[in-house]
Amino acid sequence: MDGVTATGVRASARIVARADGRGATVLPVLDGEGPLALRRVRSAGTEARVMVVGAMSGPLGGDRFTLAARVEEGARLHVGSAAATIALPGQAKGEARYDVTLDVADGAELHWLPEQLISADGSDLHVATRAELGAGARLVLREEQVLGRVGEPSGRLTSRLTVRVAGRTVLDQELACGPGAPGGWDGPAVLSGHRAVGQLVVVRPEFEAHPVPARVLGEYAALVPLTGPAALVSAVAPDALRLRRLLDELLAQLG
C-alpha cells in the first residue's frame, strides 16, 4: 500500500499459483496489503485456497484497488473472500476503481468466488474484472452486486466483466446503476426494482463440442451457452440471499 493520501488509498494484491509436480498447488506469490490482505487457508485435495480478508473498509471514493491472480499450467486455485466488499463514499473526490485481472493457463483451473459487492448510498465505484484463459483452462467465476445496504438507495456502480478464452472474447458485459447512471437502469428493461444482480461464468473445454442447453429458472434467472467453451448464469433478485440461491441452483444443474 502506498499509503492514504488526499486522493484515496492505493492497494494491490497478487497471487501466483503453481503446480508443484507432485499433484498439489503451491503459492510462490501471495502478496496483499491493507484492504486486500490475503490468507492461505486449508487446501481441499490438489487445489490451493486463498481468502481475501479486507483489513480496512472500502473501497472509498478515490481509492484504487488492483487484484491480480495467475494460475499456471496444471495448478488449481480457489479464491474466496471473508466478507462482502462494501463500496462507501469517501473523503476524496471522484470514483473509486477496483480492477481484477485473472490469468488462467492452459490446463489450469480457477474458482473465483468472492462474496457480494455492496454499493452503499453515496458511493461511486467502477469495477472491472478481466479474465484471460488459455485454450484448455477451466474457470468458475461469480460476481454479485447488491444495490444499497438494507433499506437504503444504491450508490453509483459500474461493473464490467470480460472473459477471453484462447484470445477470443466470449463475454463482455457492463452494468451501470445508481444515481447518475444512464437512464432506465432501474426500469422494466434492465433491473425493474431488483436490488441484487449476479453472473456466474463457467468455462470448460468440453463445452466447445457440447454447449450447455439454455435453461430458464423461474422468471429472473437463466443459464445460457456463450459462443465458445463457456456458459453464463445471469440472475436478478430482490436481495442477496435469493440471488445466491438462484446462482447456486443453476450452477448445480451444470453438474
Binding site: 444512464p182 432506465g184 429472473y220 445460457v224
Partner: protein
C-alpha cells in the same frame, strides 16, 4: 451524404423484417412491467443505453470500415442470450438481402459470402449505410432509433396503447437518442484505433433473461 438515403434505410417499411420483433416488449408487457406510456418510456430508455448503445456503436464502426468479422464476434460477446444472437443473425440476413438489392456493393457481397447464416444486424446495418453513401453517425442513429421504435410500435399492438402516445414517447426520447448516438460514434472511432474491445458493452439483465423465456413460449405475437 444523402439525407434521402438515410430516410430509405430508416423507414419502417424498408423490407428487412424488423416489424416482427418487439425488442423484448412482448415479454415485458406479459410480465406486467410495461402497462402504459410512462413504463414504455422507461423500458425504451433502458434499452437505448444498453443494447441500443452497443448496436449503435457496432453499426457506426461497420460504417467506418472496421472489419465486420471482428465486429460480429464482439456482438456475440455482448449478447449472452442465444435466443437474441439467433434473432440478430436472422434480422441481419434479411437486411443484407434487402440492402444488396437496394445498394449493390462488393462489401455487402463479401459479407454475405463470409456469413451465410447471417451476421449480427447492426454490423449489416453499418455496412448497408456505407454502401448507401452514409456515415457512422447515420448508421448509429438508425440502429438506436430501431432499438426503441420496435418496442414502441409493438406496444401499440400488445396493449392497445394509443399510437399518438407511443409516438410521443419516441419524440421525447429524441434528444437523449442524439446524445447516445454521439457516444456510439465516439466509441466506434476509438475502436478503430484501439480494437473492438473498446466498444461499449452495456447489458440489460432482464432483457437477456426474458428473451430466453420468451423464445420458449408456444404462442406469441412477436418473434422476439
Amino acid at each position: 451524404m444523402s439525407r434521402a438515403a438515410l430516410l430509405v434505410l430508416a423507414d419502417g417499411r424498408f423490407p428487412a423484417g424488423g416489424h416482427a420483433h418487439s425488442g423484448g416488449a412482448e415479454a415485458a408487457v406479459r410480465a406486467g412491467r410495461i402497462t402504459d406510456a410512462a413504463t414504455l418510456a422507461e423500458f425504451c430508455r433502458g434499452r437505448l443505453h444498453t443494447a441500443g448503445l452497443v448496436a449503435g456503436a457496432l453499426a457506426a464502426a461497420a460504417a467506418l470500415g472496421t472489419d465486420p468479422g471482428e465486429l460480429d464476434a464482439a456482438a456475440d460477446a455482448r449478447t449472452p442470450s442465444p435466443a437474441l444472437r439467433g434473432v440478430a443473425r436472422r434480422l441481419g440476413r434479411q437486411l443484407l438481402r434487402a440492402a444488396r438489392t437496394t445498394w449493390p456493393s462488393p462489401e455487402l457481397d463479401a459479407l454475405a459470402a463470409a456469413f451465410p447464416k447471417g451476421a449480427h444486424q447492426p454490423v449489416v446495418l453499418g455496412l448497408a449505410a456505407r454502401a448507401a453513401g452514409l456515415g457512422p453517425a447515420d448508421a448509429a442513429h438508425c440502429a438506436l432509433y430501431e432499438s426503441v421504435s420496435g418496442p414502441a410500435t409493438a406496444t401499440v399492438r400488445l396493449l392497445s396503447l394509443d399510437p399518438f402516445d407511443a409516438t410521443g414517447v419516441l419524440a421525447r426520447l429524441a434528444p437523449e437518442l442524439d446524445r447516445v448516438a454521439d457516444a456510439a460514434v465516439e466509441a466506434a472511432r476509438r475502436a478503430a484505433a484501439e480494437g473492438v474491445d473498446a466498444l461499449p458493452a452495456g447489458s440489460a439483465p432482464l432483457l437477456e433473461v426474458m428473451a430466453e423465456a420468451h423464445a420458449a413460449w408456444p404462442v406469441r405475437l412477436f418473434a422476439s
